[in-house]
Amino acid sequence: MAKPRVALFITCLADQFFPQVGESVVKILRRLDVDVTFNPAQTCCGQPAFNTGFRDEARSVARRVLDLFEDADYVVAPSGSCSAMVRVFYSELFEDDPDLLRKCRELQKRFFEFSEFLVRVLKVEDLGARFAHRVTYHDSCHLLRELGVDDAPRKLLRNVQGIDLVEMQDYKLCCGFGGTFSVKFPEVSVPMGQDKIHAATETGAEYLVAADGGCLMHLAGLIHRQGVALKTIHLAEILAQR
């Protein structure tokens, strides 16, 4: 079989705030003998505007995404939320334009969240990673409920050497990030985040791991402000450790 060609959709958040996540993804995919490309014309998927109710603005950004990845076998993003935007919500953005909708459907078939891509497409569960810490996995709501992915990250984590993976109480509960919700309803977003952090520390975990930059940014920001003894890390960063 020829090397699968994967175009990265790195997401604006990882590009600007968490480049180490993107680097980890590249490292892992290359180890798996995948041909990785990065098109620097990419920016954002359009989700912030879409979730705030500005569909025209979101569409104008999303249209570019339809064009950028035409020749890749697969497009992979290290974010459940951005992947859900493309895979689920793009259909709504382009529902009135048959040509764009066709293009959108075509892209959706090739677009995967990172852990989902590893487990469901490449069928790898053991990356030979090593991370000797107790961790707890936080399901980002979009990855969990829009894309229905809850097994892939856990399978990958369970195969990490030395890891102690523990579940939080009510592990499916939202962390309160919610995109612009985090600044529109900070009075709710913050206590929701506190509940999540509490649930994580209760497990005795050193790290809270997630597959979404948004949740991590929100939780890490709270943890840092409050000086809680808990670290946050992106799934890809753990999987890249040797």
Binding site: G22, E57, H142
Partner: protein
């Protein structure tokens, strides 16, 4: 005095007060988690539940897509059974129809079962205005009537009251002895209500389901008070939202199982009453049965393919219990009678987006509501739709330099031009220099990020973006 009007624009304030009030916050937290857990336990061991959900959804789809047909069939059957059907387009019409019926029955009191439609049309206020005393016979409704409040939850109106709160109300309003034993509190309410069932000339109820095929009004309850309201007084009035129809009697088996499990985690609620017309010779029951079919904004939603599905709702309350936002801000924050995820859809639809523009934004879009909804309503998707409606028809005056729409126009323009995006990132890296300490920013003074940094630190932009590092990878 009871709470009236629409306060949905006060969601931040009322919600914030609930979060800051330990007793209230704990009452919401523990009751929602209790109901959520009961539901989970009752459905997780039940293999056929997914099939039931599909069947329920399909039956509702059938009704809503052919509502005129089923409404006609239902109304014909009610009349054939000897009942009288009234059609009400607006809240005022509902109130007028009910007041007229009560007056004609020369009744001074109306015993009421729990009905959200009566709350929606503010029936109590209309009755009181006409010199008629509404008596709430549902324990939760009785409690909030004493407190002068609106329902805090569509299934458990007094879910936010602790036993001590209830005792306080009973001591103050009905001269009861202080107690916080649940059975004693229930007994106090029972005593206060019992004579009313005998005295009242009219009993008023809602309907959980209305069976088109037979003209039957179905009510579901645990306390037995609905059964008394609908059978003891001489006249029974049922308020029925037009979306309450189900096609056949055979569908009822699907819905009562869905409702009991989803709402309270019961396989079946204690009482299920099927009311098919007034009494017949030799039977018990009311002499007159009036069915008031209520539109009050529902037909508008029916006409909107993006929102139509909202009418599948069977008001089980599961989405409220599952919602992490409702659990925090409570029911009153939604500012009208319906709360939680379904309230954030129903309220803007019924009262207009202009008066409820904040509600669709009061969600992290986590989807927990859709996960538990017995008829699988895609609530997050409809919230997103309403967000775009809000931005188009009711833009919010802004605290920021730039109102949201121009801000997002600018954002989209930048995101469409990678060169501008790179340039913007470069400027931001310079701009953050005086603010960032060890990768974190403690305070950003400009709205909306200022809302972030009130209680959270904000990550500084990485020294090098991924796209810069990519060149070296």
């Amino acid at each position: 005095m009871s709470d009236t009007g629409i306060h949905s624009d006060e969601i931040h304030q009322i919600g914030g007060e609930t979060i800051a009030n330990p007793r209230l916050a704990e009452a919401y937290r523990s009751s929602t988690i209790r109901l959520y857990t009961h539901r989970l336990n009752s459905v997780s061991g039940f293999a056929g539940f997914e099939r039931l959900r599909e069947a329920g959804r399909e039956a509702k789809r059938q009704v809503i897509e052919n509502l005129d047909y089923y409404l006609g069939q239902f109304a014909d059957n009610v009349e054939r059974n000897g009942g009288k059907v009234h059609w009400a387009d607006t809240a005022e019409e509902v109130c007028r129809i009910v007041v007229d019926i009560v007056r004609r029955a020369t009744a001074k009191e109306v015993v009421k079962a729990k009905t959200m439609v009566a709350e929606e049309v503010e029936l109590n206020r209309a009755l009181e205005g006409a010199g008629i005393r509404p008596v709430e016979t549902d324990l939760g409704e009785f409690i909030i009537q004493l407190a002068g409040e609106r329902p805090a939850h569509i299934v458990g109106p007094a879910i936010h009251k602790t036993r001590d709160d209830v005792s306080d109300l009973f001591v103050k309003h009905i001269n009861a002895e202080r107690t916080n034993v649940p059975e004693e509190l229930t007994a106090i309410a029972r005593r206060a209500l019992r004579e009313m069932f005998q005295k009242a000339g009219v009993g008023l109820s809602g309907a959980n389901f209305a069976v088109a095929e037979t003209g039957t009004v179905v009510t579901v309850e645990n306390e037995g008070n609905i059964r008394m309201c609908t059978t003891i007084p001489r006249v029974h009035i049922a308020l029925v939202g037009i979306e309450k129809l189900i096609p056949r009697l055979a569908d009822l088996g699907v819905f009562i199982r869905l409702l009991g499990r989803s709402g309270t985690g019961q396989k079946l609620t204690t009482y299920t009453s099927l009311l098919t017309g007034p009494r017949r010779p030799g039977e018990d029951g009311p002499e007159e049965m009036h069915v008031v079919m209520v539109d009050n904004g529902r037909i508008k939603s029916l006409a909107d393919p993006k929102m139509r599905e909202m009418l599948y709702c069977i008001r089980c309350g599961a989405c409220l219990n599952a919602c992490p936002v409702y659990r925090k801000i409570g029911g009153h924050a939604y500012g009208w009678v319906y709360s939680g995820p379904i309230g954030a859809l129903v309220t803007p639809e019924f009262v207009g987006i202009g008066q409820a523009r904040e509600l669709p934004f009061a969600s992290s879009l986590c989807g927990a509501c859709r996960e538990v909804c017995p008829v699988k309503i895609n609530i997050p998707d409809m919230l997103l739709h309403l967000r775009s409606e809000a931005q188009q028809h009711a833009p919010k005056p802004t605290e920021a330099l730039l109102p949201e729409r121009p801000a997002f126009r600018l954002w989209a323009w930048v995101m469409r031009h990678p060169a501008l995006y790179r340039l913007g990132a470069k400027f931001a890296r310079w701009g953050q220099f005086p603010l960032a300490r060890k990768g974190w920013i403690r305070k950003i003074p400009t709205y909306p990020v200022s809302n972030w940094t009130k209680e959270r630190d904000f990550p500084a932009l990485a020294p090098e973006s991924f796209r810069e590092r990519w060149k070296k990878l």
